[in-house]
């Protein structure tokens, strides 16, 4: 047995010794290498959250507190507003907001204010009037409830926009409208020192909608207003940062 093993070993050694030496050139010849390393610093992070205040950082959807603040305002018409019409001439539009339910003789009960022209001092209603509205008739904007929240950049990288979604069970035909103010909100009255832009409005959960509001790195914040045409609605707000949409385009640097 031992003899057989020795014979096998001998055969293998012989075979190796006689094996062709046609190794690939790269292995058989010489080669040279040059190595170096580069430290890849952290890639950027992007994130924003919704919360009650500009300092909120909790990483979860924000549940809006109950819409308890009611806003109501009354202005009078001017000139002749014969029916049927959806644009009503007003002596003032101060305090009106989109989504309010205008109340006056000749305005259907289901009508809502859909737009406000502060220059021309007109309001547009969603359902045409059914009777003439005489000069100096009071139109009360009512049935609005509001709540405010902040969207805060919680990372050290600026955002050029963000996506936002309001989620709630259908309240049709009532609506919830999310709005921004280019200036500052007076939250007790809903007044805005600048211009107001509607981000999203609907009777049920919205899609993720782009808010074209830049948020500076780390401290960037935006104060938004939710305006509901009825109370007692549970709403949550989610903020989405989409790298393909909400961040500045990549740059090429030479260094």
């Amino acid at each position: 047995m031992k003899t057989n093993r020795l014979a096998l070993v001998a055969v293998l050694v012989g075979a190796i010794g006689l094996a062709p030496t046609g190794l690939p050139r790269a292995q058989a010849g010489v080669s040279a290498t040059s190595t170096s390393s580069v430290l890849q610093a952290p890639t950027q992070k992007y994130a924003a959250v919704a919360g009650a205040s500009p300092s909120a950082t909790a990483t979860s959807a924000y549940a809006i507190p109950a819409f308890t603040t009611s806003c109501s305002v009354s202005n009078v018409t001017t000139g002749s507003n014969n029916s049927p019409r959806t644009t009503i001439n007003m002596g003032s539009v101060t305090g009106y907001v989109v989504g309010m339910k205008p109340s006056a003789t000749g305005i259907p009960a289901t009508a809502l204010i859909t737009s406000i022209n502060t220059g021309a001092k007109t309001i547009t209603v969603s359902v045409a009037t059914t009777a003439n509205i005489s000069n100096n008739t009071a139109i009360t904007g009512a049935g609005c409830w509001q709540q405010y929240f902040s969207v805060n950049n919680i990372q050290a990288t600026a955002l050029s926009s963000f996506g936002v979604q309001q989620s709630f069970s259908s309240i049709s035909p009532d609506t919830i409208t999310m709005r921004r103010c280019s200036g500052t909100w007076t939250e007790s009255t809903g007044a805005c020192s600048g211009s107001i832009t509607t981000i999203v409005s609907g009777t049920a959960t919205s899609a993720i909608t782009t808010a074209s509001i830049a948020l500076s790195a780390s401290t960037g914040t935006a104060r938004l207003r939710l305006l509901a045409t009825k109370s007692g609605i549970s709403v949550t707000i989610s903020v989405a940062i989409r790298l393909a949409t909400d961040i500045a385009a990549g740059t090429t640097t030479n260094s």
């Binding site: 040059s34 919680i154 385009a249």
Partner: protein, 218 residues
């Protein structure tokens, strides 16, 4: 009896003679043989041949004004491209062949393990020095390595250098890109497999083999 005595004497004389003859022959023959060995002719021709083996040497050096491959890259954002410049020198006396590059990432992250979302590397050569401020080559540009993921570069990958001869000096532009991605961060929570907030140290290895061995007559 006398006759017998004479015969005995004659016999003894013959024996003595025989011994003498044999001894003489032995000594003389040996002498003749030895003499023939030491006197044979010998011719020798000599020459001196100097043999020098070649050398193969490869170095990569950051071009003046560039961080090369040794200086950290500031935080990258999707869509960013960072161009770094270096000089690859075949400093030996042998021509080179089959140049390759390999990258090892440590620690292993999506930057080097995801062929789509991870880093993408492109290497270009310029026949003259690169204009680093703009990344423009005023001479002839050679695509040394088309865009290739760091994942793929975990193994030796062939490079197309414009010259591999001994002493070749090649100005290279290394473009390191983080691709755009559709990643979404919802309510501050990063998705799985995110490319955000990652750090990886890249170890680069350039390799070249010797030129093809040759047989010459002359």
């Amino acid at each position: 009896m006398k006759l017998n005595s004479v015969s005995a004497l004659q016999g003894a004389g013959r024996l003595t003679l025989k011994i003498v003859v044999v001894a003489t022959a032995a000594i003389g023959g040996g002498a003749l043989v030895s003499s023939s060995v030491f006197t044979s002719l010998t011719a020798v021709a000599t020459a001196s041949t100097s043999v020098t083996s070649g050398t193969l040497s490869l170095t990569d050096t950051a071009t003046a004004g560039s961080g090369g491959l040794v200086t950290a890259i500031a935080g990258m954002a999707p869509g960013d491209v960072r161009n770094r410049y270096l000089t690859l020198t075949n400093g030996g006396t042998l021509d080179a062949d089959t140049p390759t590059v390999r990258i090892a990432g440590s620690p292993s992250t999506v930057l080097t393990t995801d062929g789509t979302k991870g880093l993408q590397i492109t290497i270009s050569a310029c026949s003259v020095a690169w204009t680093q401020a703009t990344g423009v080559c005023s001479g002839t540009t050679t695509a040394v390595l088309t865009s290739t993921s760091a994942l793929a570069l975990a193994t030796d990958t062939a490079l197309t250098l414009p010259s591999k001869i001994a002493g070749a000096v090649t100005p290279l532009k290394i473009s390191i890109a983080l691709p755009n991605t559709n990643e979404t961060v919802t309510d501050g929570v990063f998705p799985g497999g995110t490319v955000q907030g990652l750090t990886t140290t890249l170890a680069w290895t350039f390799t070249e083999a010797q030129r093809t061995a040759t047989t010459t007559n002359g």
